[in-house]
Amino acid sequence: MKIAGIRLDLIVPGVCGLALLFGLPIFLDLFSLLQVTLYAIMAILALSLAFIWGYGGILCLGHSAFFGLGAYAYAIAVINIGESTAPFLIAILVPTLAAAAVGYFMFYGRISDVYVGVMTLTLALILFNVVNSTSGAQYHIGKAPIGGYNGLPNVPGLNVPFDPDNSLDPGDMYYLCMGLLIVVYFGLRWLLTTRFGRVAVAIRENEKRVEFIGYDSRLHKLATFTIGGGLAGLAGCLFVNWGAYVSPTTFSMMQSAQVIIWVLVGGVGTLFGPMIGAVALSWLTVEVGSQQLIDANLLFGAILLVFVLLVPRGIMPVLIDRVWGRISLPRRPVFTAPPVAAREGKR
């Protein structure tokens, strides 16, 4: 493991990350910096799915469920509590626990990965419907109304931990989000080198063999899924802080679809690709939103369709192939979909 190339692939992103973290505030005006902050948040969301789908092989089609839970948990907690330290932690805890609960039923029930996709998608759909239709005054948690389709405006932002009078300004938010993105990226890189991470990847490759070796695949999948859910919640929490506003669209199908598209376009089975996908397509979303000609659904539907049919591996792996010829790092072929008969016959 002491090849120069290995260390290079840590150093290059590290240096780039730090350069962006400290360089961008010098060159960008506040408005652009705000945009970059949003991209960083979306990149964290993309990483959370890139980890559980690309490495864990768990198809989570309703990732917005955890993003939205993080967002709403923060908003509701901060309106009730005021000081933001606890709400920040609650915003990670709630989606983590939700992912653990849903994951328990899915993985200990040993349902196939396609069913996992449908199950998670349904979870997000129902959460969306629930939050969207709880607009009356009778729906509230403590001091905070749920707000229904109107969402919750004027959500108080983060403050310096335990110092409610010292709230973060947009510049601070940029450093926080960008810094967290770097931490999450390298954290996941590290996790994938541990035994847990490697077993998670092995489950993606062949769950049966992992069990024959003596690892509890259900527990590993549950842990992978739970980590992903927590990270998505973190992104949701940051997202509320970014806009000081939360609406049911955080739970929407479109939100789930976007994350899937980022990961797919960037490359399933990589971490860097999905981050790029998140930034590029979030930028595109903003651009499309500012004009009336093309509907966003139309555009993203077309992108998803084209990539599944024509570039299923995503841009990153294809680029790496082009640049370095054959890939040296082991990379999954394309998804993990053994023949139907094989998985139906199980148990």
Partner: protein, 244 residues
């Protein structure tokens, strides 16, 4: 159950029965294998050998009867719990991690019992034993069938089981590969017990051992290799005649 002088068997199946819907795949099978024994299971297709293996490894729950491993009842245990007790299996179609390299494959298995540097050492030892050093950094999915079989064997061995189940280890192998596999089994035999399902009679003679013959979900005969292979009933079964 057993007399005090008789050593406890490593694994024992008692009255084991498996029904799928109306089909009885295994009927009242009693079978026991001692510590360190090498046992061959033979029988025509559909005789119930694979189902038997699936029950031993916790992939299917027996309809009736029980399985004892060193005296512990293991029916209903999860596959990974059974693996941790010390039963390893090499399946007929290689179950390996195709998207990972040979070294990474072995690392996953080695780290079940080892930590840190010890894992690396175990992987290196296994690469040497299986003579796979030259392809250690290749993706397993790109390797030949025979090589994948040995890698799977390596995965099993690295978990240091007390009993290894081999489902047709020589299937699809060339003459040379078959000989090498038989030799490997000879080496493995020194450290643990084995149950081998095989169709290839030449291969069975190579590893000659006690043989149990399955036919239509029941045990037809059991005995030493020479006796069993010359038994007329066994020949009839394989030639498609119904046994008396």
């Amino acid at each position: 159950m057993s007399g005090s002088n008789v050593p406890q068997p490593l694994i024992e199946a008692r009255n084991l029965t498996m029904r799928f819907g109306g089909v009885t795949a295994i009927a009242n099978v009693d079978l026991s294998v001692a510590e360190g024994e090498l046992r061959c299971l033979i029988g025509p297709n559909g005789a119930g050998k694979s189902t038997f293996f699936k029950m031993l490894t916790g992939q299917v729950m027996p309809s009736e009867g029980e399985i004892l491993f060193r005296g512990t009842r293991i029916n209903g245990f999860e596959p990974h719990d059974i693996a941790r007790l010390g039963i390893g299996i090499k399946t007929q179609v290689p179950n390996v991690f195709d998207g990972l390299t040979v070294r990474e494959n072995l690392w996953i298995a080695a780290s079940r019992r080892n930590r840190g540097k010890a894992t690396e050492r175990a992987v290196a030892r296994e690469l040497e034993r299986l003579e796979l050093g030259s392809i250690a950094d290749r993706l397993v999915g790109q390797l030949a069938h025979g090589q994948r079989q040995w890698i799977e064997l390596g995965l099993v061995l690295l978990t240091e089981p007390a009993l290894i189940l081999l489902d047709e280890p020589a299937a699809g192998m060339t003459e040379d590969e078959t000989v090498r596999t038989a030799k490997l089994i000879g080496i493995i035999k020194q450290s643990c017990a084995l149950i081998v399902v095989e169709h290839d009679m030449k291969f069975i003679r190579m590893i000659a051992s006690r043989i149990t013959v399955f036919d239509r979900g029941r045990i037809l005969v059991e005995g030493e290799a020479d006796a069993v292979l010359s038994d007329q009933r066994v020949r009839d079964v394989y030639l498609g005649k119904r046994a008396a």
